[in-house]
Amino acid sequence: MTTNTDAEISIQTADFSLADEVALLEQDNAIDGAVVTFTGRVRNQNEGKEVTSLTLEHYPGMTEKSLAKIINTAKERWRIGRVKVIHRVGELFIGEQIVFVGVTSKHRQDAFAANEFIMDYLKVQAPFWKKESTKQGNHWLDAKTSDENKAAKW
């Protein structure tokens, strides 16, 4: 039985520091030789449109529960050490960080796979929604079939 600590998941409006997060994953952790991190950022264009910002909405309570389940599944499938998932909400501008997934393990294979798995499932199961602002106006983004297919491959 694996359990999540509150420290593993953070939904926040504030930015995060990649260096600080890596330091926390490594602190007093001499058994893990691998640290794999993923950072997602706001792009300047999407489907041919010039993006000015994204506004992220989520479902407080369900978001944390759904991410905890995804992390627990990853811990059952791979031999991993520490996990950290950060997802920002609110309005985010071009180049700003949106999401962070960090995983440690003894050897790199497990951390690489678990990190990609967590990110792929976050995309299709965690209740976040993006509203895109462009010079032509605002609209909610549609879910992509390619994201569903990618998660289904695990």
Binding site: K65, V99, V124, W129, K130, W140, L141
Partner: protein
């Protein structure tokens, strides 16, 4: 009573983020959807969308999921985080 919450595009289309409903006649999420769709033409149109997802007490569920008084039921579009 059942607490019902709506998110993202759905919340905007309905111009409603949450409401409470008497649960006496409602045994499944599908019943609840039918009840909400009968409110007016706009609600009917919105709930005709098969892509809508639902959750009961923060877990994603299918329409056949049983519901009871005190539950929190959520409806929302497919998710787009990350």
């Amino acid at each position: 009573m059942i607490k019902v919450v709506f998110f993202a595009a759905l919340r905007e289309q309905l111009n409603c983020s949450e409401l409470s409903l008497n649960s006496d006649q409602l045994t499944t999420v599908a019943d609840l959807k039918t009840a909400l769709a009968s409110k007016d033409e706009n609600w009917q149109q919105v709930f005709a969308n098969n892509a809508l997802l639902s959750a009961v007490n923060h877990d994603m569920v299918h329409s056949e999921q049983a519901i009871k008084s005190g539950d929190e039921v959520a409806f929302f579009p497919p998710v787009t985080g990350g």
